[in-house]
Symmetry: C2
Subunit: 418 residues, 2 copies
Amino acid sequence: MSNVKAHIITIGDELLIGQVIDTNSAWIAQHLNKLGIDVVRRVAVGDDRDAIWQALEEAILKPGVVIITGGLGPTADDITKPLLCEFFEGKLVVDERVLDHVKNIFAKRNRPFLERNRKQAEVPDNCTVLFNKMGTAPGMWWEEEDQVVVALPGVPFEMASIMENEVLPRLAQKFNSDAIEHRSVITAGEGESFVAEKLQDIESALPLHIRLAYLPGSGMVKLRLTGRGAMKEQLITDLNLWQQKLAERLGNIVVALEDIPLEMILGKWFLANKVTLGIAESCTGGYLAHHITQVMGASAYFKGCIVCYSNDVKESVLGVKKETIEAEGAISEKTAIEMAQGAFRVLKSDYAIGITGLMSEGGESYKTEVGTVWMAVADKDNVKTKKFWFPYDRVRNKEMAVSMGMLMLWKFVCEFKS
Amino acid sequence: MSNVKAHIITIGDELLIGQVIDTNSAWIAQHLNKLGIDVVRRVAVGDDRDAIWQALEEAILKPGVVIITGGLGPTADDITKPLLCEFFEGKLVVDERVLDHVKNIFAKRNRPFLERNRKQAEVPDNCTVLFNKMGTAPGMWWEEEDQVVVALPGVPFEMASIMENEVLPRLAQKFNSDAIEHRSVITAGEGESFVAEKLQDIESALPLHIRLAYLPGSGMVKLRLTGRGAMKEQLITDLNLWQQKLAERLGNIVVALEDIPLEMILGKWFLANKVTLGIAESCTGGYLAHHITQVMGASAYFKGCIVCYSNDVKESVLGVKKETIEAEGAISEKTAIEMAQGAFRVLKSDYAIGITGLMSEGGESYKTEVGTVWMAVADKDNVKTKKFWFPYDRVRNKEMAVSMGMLMLWKFVCEFKS
């Protein structure tokens, strides 16, 4: 069977009033995709009997996979399990293995086991129970010839654990699909239209089984080639060829040929070149350091960061001169340079970046326009500075500044690498 | 007209293959909710003509509001605008105001204006054009007696800007709905079942127009009361009463009566008490400082942070003793204490927190179990320490550690406030 389609149904009022952002769907889609299963539709409904029932009926009409998440917790606002049981005409029975597991979790946490927790161990008698080693609510699997329906808890790491250990292996075995492969070309410094214009003829020449998509982000445009075919080897050859054509055409705006974040691109470079990084950040408040340390193994090249939110920390820890701040302002080219040089010296790193700016109104009243950010990147011989201006709100300005800081660092190391 | 229902349709292959997480839907839901408009269903489909058409037909059958996001960019994978034009039987024409705006944006960015950018200024001739001051693609509004259909670009800050400036004011005027109000009670330190058990009788006694939902998070359970009614004043009185009942019953596990993040709860306290905070963090890599600086005005109480990712930074910047690291390890109670005391001294703050731990395998090989984190909170007279163990992956362990760090800080200031 090829071209298996999947529907995702997410259940929970918290999704519909916007209190929670649905990260599960993206995770599930990514992982189904690797099995050659395409998600064609995602539906989110509230903790409402009729809405859930309708979403189930719509999804179940079509052969393929239905993944349901959410609505399986122990509290009264969760109505999904009894409904699923009714929908599939089963009967709720206590599963002894799950019951032991739930009791065990409560014992370990020194919490009393309550009657309502026993309900966590109830499952429809006509489903395969999917063990949840990360939490109390088990997953459930119903299967017919051309269809699989899976219900999972909505807590993201519980969902992911059951998917990885129980669902994905079973799906891989059941459906022997077309291969789907993706290739990426990550560009920086030009807009979506510019990139599209450059690629127009290549895009028109793409074969039918390969599609190109543009994903614009902060200062970057990601290009994604998606191919599908019965012959995996051939598909990979084709995709690599088209990826190479795109990359050659785009030249030096290409920063990577895989869809990994900039912090990982930087990380690979620092690791390969056996050099270290130090950061001094003010307005970005630790967010750049956070990005750098999201990469596993960052301790091999990342020395540390001084978040110098107050001016006296800029002076006392980083050695920024009092006169510089008084004469030029805390948000100035000179302060950024002294911050980078301070980080370089205090953290004893090979490269350093300094970021200072004003992200939003309020707090201190600098004589600077909101959104202004100065950055400086330095190694032992060189220093580069750049002034940015971001027009958004605090949260987005911070994100933009961190993206631009990483890009600036990347361009610097590309230019000055020994 | 009361009880207006809304459907959200998000369009884009990037959502279905999981490359992008849909944050727009949550934002839209929150803002519609404040107008008394309930989102009852969200559907995500790919850049696929039939799927988009079907989603439109399903949504359009019911009176209310349909918000469509995505699929309006300048590149070839965006097919939504012509389709919408066909669906509503209009004709694409160039809007001169939009064209001027788009040209202007390209001129400002020093980018050539390309023929494909002219398409950005095309709109169906039978819709109201919604001006997009944050980007090039305009929004579109179709209206009939009992229905509004709005199409918006998918870039989150462009969508939000058009919603705030164009869509929400128009919707508020058109629909004069029931009021919907929410009240929250935020608890920490107990699980969902424990909280639910404590509230069982109160929950059963809730009137029909008020619902209670449980939203478990990292070490916290958020309770949300949702009420709806024609009389806003009465509704607010009722909700406040029930909120108070919940809070009284739950006693000292309540940390806030509004749904704001812990960093904001902390921020309010530090601001009100005119005291300052310093951070020394190792394994959390700047992520705690990032949280603290997400709060507008944090510069009034946040001095800064030393991200001491390498041991020599722990020693040279924070003054952690070499002997401590050698004898006890970098991840130990004593190191956490010396880090907190170092931050206290170096950053000259009234309170300080030190966090050291091992988030994942790889990098350095400490003699410590992965997931172990030691934290210390200190003021001039007191120090408290705690050992944590987080069983998840790197990203989630980091998130848990930051949540727990903020909770520990909160408990400390509650206990030792003067």
